[in-house]
């Protein structure tokens, strides 16, 4: 009985805060389409698997729009040294045999069989039901075993005190972090910040969507164009695929 009362009260408080926040914030920000948002309180579903298709033929060398957008969205400082965090980076590639040049954004590949999750001693690294690989920053002890295990160099260790982090994205010195596929935006039915920024810049190199839905745009594209996963030989089944590699 008491539990029920507490639950009701908690739900009421939760909803009231959201309503108040909405009233205060909404006029000042762009209103997004909430049509595909996951209802609040509903767990992520394994029926969905979020993923990306990156078209390297559309990605321009020197363009850093996705990186800038990621940093802004998640309150990350621009990287200057090897100890700075980078959730997403631009990689320039030159094929050794032909000299063909490619540019692409590189981030956590959100593997179906993530080695970081396997090796994490405290279960701080975990995979959500919808395929998004995350780090619980309150549980991470900073052993960096996940960084040793990741074949994509996707993770960063916070080497310095974090002084001005975004309140929506708590971060802390001594823990490991990586691309979270902008989970907070995805849960609201939005696209990750890098995808949006890439589209805005006119390149449209990153397509985001549900890999499990056969009718989603990403599934249709994957069915019709030749794509590759990075280090497919490892059998980790990453959620990110590339065209033109």
């Amino acid at each position: 009985m008491t539990d029920q009362v507490n639950l009701d009260r908690r739900q009421f408080l939760g909803k009231a805060s959201v309503a108040i926040a909405g009233i205060v914030i909404a006029p000042g920000m762009m209103l997004y389409d909430f049509a595909h948002a996951r209802p609040e309180g509903e767990a992520a579903s394994a029926a969905i698997r979020w993923g990306m298709l990156i078209d390297t033929t559309q990605c321009e060398s020197g363009c850093e729009e996705c990186v800038t957008a990621c940093n802004k969205e998640n309150g990350l400082p621009a990287a200057k040294s090897p100890t700075d965090v980078q959730w997403i980076r631009k990689v320039d590639l030159k094929q050794i045999s032909t000299g063909r040049q490619i540019s692409l954004p590189m981030m956590c590949q959100h593997c179906a069989e993530p080695p970081c999750v396997d090796v994490c001693p405290t279960k701080a690294s975990f995979k959500r039901a919808d395929g998004i690989v995350l780090v619980d920053k309150h549980r991470c002890i900073g052993c960096r075993y996940c960084m040793m295990a990741c074949p994509y160099k996707a993770r960063s260790f916070v080497h310095e005190p974090v002084l001005d982090h975004d309140t929506d994205m708590p971060r802390g010195k001594g823990t490991v972090e990586s691309c979270n596929l902008c989970v907070h935006r995805v849960d609201k039915g939005e696209q990750p910040a890098c995808v949006e920024a890439c589209a805005k810049s006119g390149h449209r190199a990153i397509l985001f969507g549900d890999l499990n839905n056969p009718n989603s745009e990403i599934s249709l594209r994957l069915r019709n164009v030749a794509s590759t996963q990075l280090r497919a030989d490892l059998g980790l089944n990453p959620g990110i695929s590339f065209v033109g590699l």
Partner: protein, 397 residues
């Protein structure tokens, strides 16, 4: 009472302990400095994520298990000379494990959350497996020492010794698996690593034992039987050879795989400090020279064996540095067939310069092991046995 320490000896003991405490305290201060400022004050980065502290910690953890061989040969295989040394080996094992864990824990990004590792156990993580393995070894070795030092418990020496022996093999398998389970990097991900770590532990543990035994005998004014040391030196030689063999097989198989050739060239030929440390540090100073000191007919005396043991320890550090740091310095093969370039070091050899706090933390761990051993030997006077020639002759017969 077998022996009463003179006043000057007591003063010397306290001086040594004070020195040990000072070094351990400096290690703690270094760890505090790293925690306050973050790992930015170390040489580590997002490319080299495990640095000098791991070299120290892994050496001590591997040696902690290897030193128990002395106990195993005594208790499980019944050799009297080794049996007499089992208590010292047990004490040394506890000391080295404590020292290694001191370094490993204090190098964590959040050492204050260590309890989280116990309350959120991930069964698929070999790191998590190691936690019960470490605490289990502490418990078993303590129990083992009780059976050795308490006469009424002597009947239990063999079964408990067998349990310790089994546990230590599993523990070092676990240490090797930390690297063997890493598919990402070319240096690791090999099933050869656990057996290689076990064989390395035999040699490193025995080398540490020789050095500590000689030091403790001289500090405690006890005479060490040269015959005993000479018998044990052959064993050290065999372990050094066995380690060389496995290291050669590891690199040999890698050289045979085309995809691994560039990595092997980096480690063995053109990687700067890494080939230098591998050939000069591990192969020449850490293996060939000790083998000469042990097996050359005109050498092999006590001083030679102690010098050989110190060189084996030096070689171990060189090998671990090459294995741990060199293994990370070589870029990940994310885009085979392409040259990669990025702001995050893709396709580039990573640089690493260990910083002073890292060294101080490592030395702090060694000092913890030193303190436990020194105090242990002083308190438990029977840790250093007096061997008699008769005992040796009996065993030979």
């Amino acid at each position: 009472m077998e022996k009463i320490f003179s006043q000057s000896e007591t003063r010397q003991f306290y001086l040594i302990v004070a020195l040990g405490l000072l070094i351990a305290g400096t290690g703690l201060a270094a760890a505090h400095f790293m925690e306050e400022h973050g790992h930015v004050v170390t040489g580590m980065s997002n490319q080299i994520v495990w640095g000098m502290p791991h070299v120290f910690a892994i050496f001590m953890i591997v040696a902690a298990s290897g030193v128990l061989n002395i106990a195993a040969i005594g208790s499980v295989f019944g050799k009297a000379v080794y049996k007499a040394r089992a208590p010292l080996a047990g004490m040394l094992s506890i000391a080295l494990l404590a020292g290694g864990l001191f370094v490993l824990m204090l190098d964590l990004g959040r050492p204050d959350r260590i309890i989280v590792a116990a309350t959120n156990f991930n069964p698929t993580s070999v790191f998590a497996w190691n936690l019960p393995l470490y605490s289990g070894l502490f418990t078993l070795v303590a129990l083992y020492m009780w059976t050795l030092l308490e006469q009424r418990m002597n009947g239990w020496i063999k079964p408990v010794g067998l349990a310790v022996f089994t546990w230590r093999i599993i523990l070092t398998t676990g240490t090797g698996l930390i690297f063997a389970f890493l598919v990402a990097r070319q240096a690791y991900g090999s099933a050869l690593l656990p057996p290689m770590f076990i064989v390395m532990s035999f040699g490193w543990g025995l080398a540490v034992f020789h050095v500590v035994q000689s030091t403790m005998y001289s500090w405690n004014n006890k005479i060490q039987d040269p015959l005993v040391l000479q018998r044990m030196k052959n064993l050290l030689g065999i372990f050094v050879l066995a380690t060389l063999f496995l290291v050669a097989i590891y690199h040999g198989t890698n050289l045979y795989f085309a995809k691994q050739v560039l990595f092997e060239h980096f480690i063995l030929l053109n990687g700067g400090i890494y080939p230098n440390l591998f050939w000069g540090g591990y192969v020449v100073l850490g293996s060939i020279l000790p083998l000469l000191l042990i097996f050359h007919p005109s050498l092999g005396k006590i001083r030679c064996v102690v010098a050989a043991s110190m060189l084996v320890i030096l070689g171990a550090f060189a090998l671990l540095y090459v294995f741990i740091i060199g293994g990370q310095a070589f870029p990940l093969s994310i885009f085979p067939g392409y040259e990669a370039n990025s702001s995050f070091g893709d396709g580039q050899i990573a640089t690493y310069t260990p910083s002073l706090p890292e060294f101080l933390l490592g030395l702090g761990g060694i000092s913890i092991a030193f303190l436990i051993t020194t105090i242990g030997v002083r308190v438990l006077n029977s840790l250093l046995p007096h061997d008699t020639l008769n005992q040796l002759k009996q065993e030979a017969e």
